[in-house]
């Protein structure tokens, strides 16, 4: 099967999956017996029949459920995710507002985890059992087991509040003017604006949450890399490569690493999808106005359209990331395509 056909088939297969997700979502929120009007118009205005009637008409709450679902589905296909009860803005606009913050943090955390995690994992795997290996193992265990909301609070307290050497909560220095919004990614917008001070401001605020959130992923990447390298280094083909007189560096990079990459890509893909769906705890501790915080608020106030839209977005992110992982897999290991 050619690569293109493989991708096409995977894409087509994700359509019924996404459709199923919308149906399940819709059913769940219709089973929950809560009057959404309380959230829509506020407690006090519920006594005003004129306001109540206008709201019921506006949100289509007087129509039968199947009709509400059908409307919802056709709207999705037109790119309309509905209007949030809570923010009263189109859900798509809300997601657009909150997604850049999450993307910025997810990308920088993933970079941090991969750039540090893979080399350290290789080194630990190659020098398996050494003091260095044990040290790295201990650090990664620590990183992976300390909850980010706790380390986040401690880091803020120590490095921002007490020592004053790191920037505080929020995405940008409070007394600095933000660069004009183009992408919503403050680092990229600063570069587009040619404003290096703003770029510094945005990067300084990324530092602590990246270390906290990325640290968690780093531990994961490191452990998987180490385990894969340890396993691969024991294989026959590595012995063969060595016996050919190949330099050890080439043995590791060209042979062992290439095979170790397979499990690694799966882990990194899943971790990235997880990061993109919003790291609620880290976002909360660092006042990071991202998707995670938005969805938690939506869930707490039973804001169906926002929950549905957000869940759909996350489902799409997972589908895309999984697709990328599988494609990368099939490039690295063509046998996968026939599986």
């Amino acid at each position: 099967m050619s690569l293109v056909r493989y991708i096409a088939r995977r894409l087509i297969l994700s359509v019924p999956m996404l459709f199923g997700i919308t149906l399940v979502l819709f059913m769940i929120y219709n089973i929950v017996q809560v009057d959404p009007l309380v959230m829509i118009i506020g407690e006090r205005a519920m006594d005003n029949p004129q306001v109540v009637e206008a709201a019921i008409r506006k949100w289509g709450l007087d129509r039968p459920i199947w009709e509400q679902y059908f409307t919802y589905l056709t709207n999705i296909l037109r790119g309309d995710l509905g209007t949030s009860f809570l923010t009263r803005r189109p859900v798509l606009d809300d997601l657009r507002t909150h997604l850049p913050a999450t993307i910025e943090l997810a990308v920088s955390s993933l970079l941090f985890a991969v750039v540090l995690g893979i080399p350290l994992g290789i080194a630990a795997g190659v020098y398996f059992g050494s003091l260095f290996d044990r040290f790295v193992w201990f650090i990664s265990l620590l990183n992976g087991s300390l909850p980010p909301f706790w380390t986040g609070l401690i880091f803020l307290f120590v490095f921002y509040y007490s020592l004053g050497i790191a920037a505080g909560p929020g995405r940008f220095p409070p007394r600095m003017d933000r660069p004009p919004a183009v992408t919503g990614l403050l680092t990229l917008d600063s570069i587009l604006d040619g404003n290096m001070a703003a770029l510094g401001g945005a990067l300084s605020h990324l530092l602590l949450p990246t270390v906290i959130l990325g640290g968690f992923t780093l531990a994961l990447v490191l452990r998987v890399t180490r385990a894969a390298i340890v396993e691969e280094m024991r294989r026959e083909y590595v012995r063969t490569a060595r016996s050919k007189g190949l330099a050890e560096r080439l043995v590791i990079v060209r042979h062992a690493l290439r095979n170790a990459l397979l499990p690694l890509i799966t882990i990194i893909g899943l971790a990235f999808a997880g990061l993109l769906s919003g790291a609620v705890m880290t976002e909360t501790v660092f006042d990071w106005a991202g998707i995670g915080q938005y969805l938690v608020r939506a869930a707490a106030s039973l804001d169906y359209p926002a929950i549905q839209g957000g869940t759909l977005l996350i489902a799409i992110i997972y589908v895309i990331v999984n697709l990328c992982v599988d494609v990368l897999y099939s490039i690295l290991d063509p046998r996968v395509r026939h599986g």
Partner: protein, 524 residues
């Protein structure tokens, strides 16, 4: 391997060269850290939450005002004077001839008519400011005179006029952005998106940006008709908790942390760069006990409710807030004329036990106490509920606590399904009817939810709503409080105090129980 280590080292170094203390572009702007996550819209015709009051009070103006130093006095705003017709049905406002919008254009009677009519026809939550008060019509008599007619006499109307929802917007600007005051404005008005990011008012500041869950930015109105203020601007910066707001203020990244809890206030006390500003709010947290036979519970007997009121350790409840709270005798907060703290219940366990015996429950009984989520004065509902549970257990009343998310709780409460609750009440305008209209009638307000039907209280509420003589009204209010104490349906637990942490150099900041903040006079 060495190359990798060198690369890592370079990466680490480059991270540490990121500038940590960026330059201060807006040196004379006020940075205010607080929760501010409740904002749904900043359109004065649509917003019905709390943070919007801060923004609207800074960027718009109302015809009349109530200043924080005397809550019983209504003072001129955009209107330099007003008069009420003999029958109490017609209000005539005369606009200040100097009043100008930020655009430089004068504030006219037509702008007032447009703004109020739009508010009414948007049919959103805040339209109740007009509909609840029998609003009939508004007319721009001439350039500077506005006539408002009501269906029935409403002595509270002048104080309702001070509500930020009744702010005056510049008609030309709003219309240019798609706004309309037409009958079907709820379907056709398109100015919301623009008003979420900009303001069209006459206040000391201009809204320039709102980033949801992140910040709200206002700059000084250089054209302010009372003279431009000292601050260059105000940024409301969202923080999720008081601890991080305090960190921002302590490090100088913010100037004020708004509405912190008692623990944070204690921490701030130990910092020489900071000071506290404590304001008395009118927000009440209450225990509501249904007197209705409907639930078939002992609490339908007034003596049982009075026993509960005598069993509560009020000082202990207030201690939970770190002492940053007070309490009135009934649902009429301290600071409002007629609210008499001497009528409060105090803890008297013997009295409570004898009342229970009289009612036929010498060994107590068990029932369920319902609560939502959230907190008052920094104390979560479940903590208050546990305290009440422990207090009542001392007289044999066993409470089971049922906590739900606020929407679920409110749904059940509104459906008149809950016999005993802990809930809160926050005023939107400063008049006694803000409480008497909602805690008195069998067929409306919070009293309806608890199935309270006490004719004496309902009659007093009607008399209070219609009475125009302040002296007579105060007497009626005192009677109203007494009747409520006797009925023991709503038992106030906490009247919240609002604690702000300020940097030492901030002067002229005033807490306001309804608008929350007065920024116009702030200097740093």
């Amino acid at each position: 391997m060495r190359r990798v280590l060198v690369a890592l080292f370079v990466l680490a170094i480059s991270f540490s060269f990121v500038p940590q203390v960026p330059t201060h572009a807006q040196s004379n702007a006020l940075i205010v850290a607080g929760r501010f996550t409740d904002v749904i819209t900043l359109d004065p015709g649509r917003a019905f939450e709390t943070t919007n009051l801060i923004v609207h009070h800074a960027t718009y103006e109302t015809l009349l005002n109530i200043n924080a130093d005397d809550l019983s006095k209504i003072v001129p705003g955009l209107a330099e004077s007003y008069s009420i017709s003999e029958d109490g049905l017609e209000y005539t406002f005369v606009l200040n001839p100097n009043a100008k919008f930020a655009s430089g254009n004068p504030v006219t009677a037509e702008d007032v008519r447009f703004s109020w009519t739009r508010l009414l026809n948007l049919k959103g939550g805040p339209s109740s400011y007009l509909t609840d008060f029998g609003f009939k019509s508004i007319e721009a008599v001439d350039e500077r005179t506005v006539k408002v007619r009501l269906e029935s006499p409403q002595p509270a109307f002048a104080s309702v006029v001070t509500a930020p929802a009744l702010s005056v917007l510049e008609k030309a600007v709003v219309v240019a952005q798609g706004g309309t005051d037409a009958e079907n404005a709820d379907q056709t008005d398109a100015a919301k998106d623009w008003l979420d990011q900009n303001s069209a008012g006459s206040g000391p500041f201009i809204l320039t940006r709102w980033s949801p869950n992140s910040e709200i930015v206002m700059v000084r109105n250089e054209n302010y008709w009372r003279g431009a203020v000292a601050l260059e601007g105000i940024t409301l910066r969202v923080t999720n908790d008081a601890a991080s707001a305090l960190q921002l203020v302590a490090r100088g990244d913010a100037d004020i942390a708004l509405g912190v809890d008692a623990d944070t206030a204690e921490q701030a006390r130990g910092n020489a760069d900071l000071k506290l500003n404590i304001g008395q709010t009118l927000n009440l947290l209450y225990l509501g006990i249904s007197p209705s036979e409907f639930f078939n519970l002992p609490i339908s007997d007034a003596r049982v409710r009075q026993a509960i009121a005598h069993a509560i350790d009020y000082d202990g409840v207030i201690a939970l807030t770190g002492g940053f709270a007070d309490r009135p005798a009934a649902m009429l907060p301290l600071g409002i004329a007629g609210s008499d703290p001497n009528l409060r219940y105090t803890r008297d366990l013997d009295k409570a036990r004898s009342l229970l015996s009289e009612a036929g429950y010498p060994n107590g009984f068990s029932m369920t106490l319902f609560i939502g989520s959230g907190s008052t004065a920094g104390v979560p509902r479940e903590v208050i509920a546990a305290k009440i549970q422990a207090d009542l257990a001392e007289v044999g009343i066993q409470l089971e606590i049922n906590q739900q998310t606020t929407p679920n709780f409110l749904t059940a409460f509104r459906a008149q399904e809950l016999p005993m609750v802990i809930s809160a009440w926050t005023p939107d305008y400063l008049d006694a009817t803000m409480w008497t209209a909602f805690f008195s009638k069998a067929d409306s307000g919070v009293s309806r939810r608890l199935r309270m039907d006490v004719p004496q209280i309902a009659e007093l509420a009607d008399q209070i709503a219609a009475e125009r003589d302040p002296m007579v009204r105060e007497k009626l209010l005192t009677d109203y409080v007494k009747a409520h104490v006797e009925a023991a349906v709503f038992i106030p637990l906490i009247q919240e105090q609002y604690i702000d942490v300020l940097r030492k150099n901030i002067e002229g900041y005033v807490f306001h129980p309804v608008y929350l903040t007065e920024f116009a006079g702030v200097r740093k």
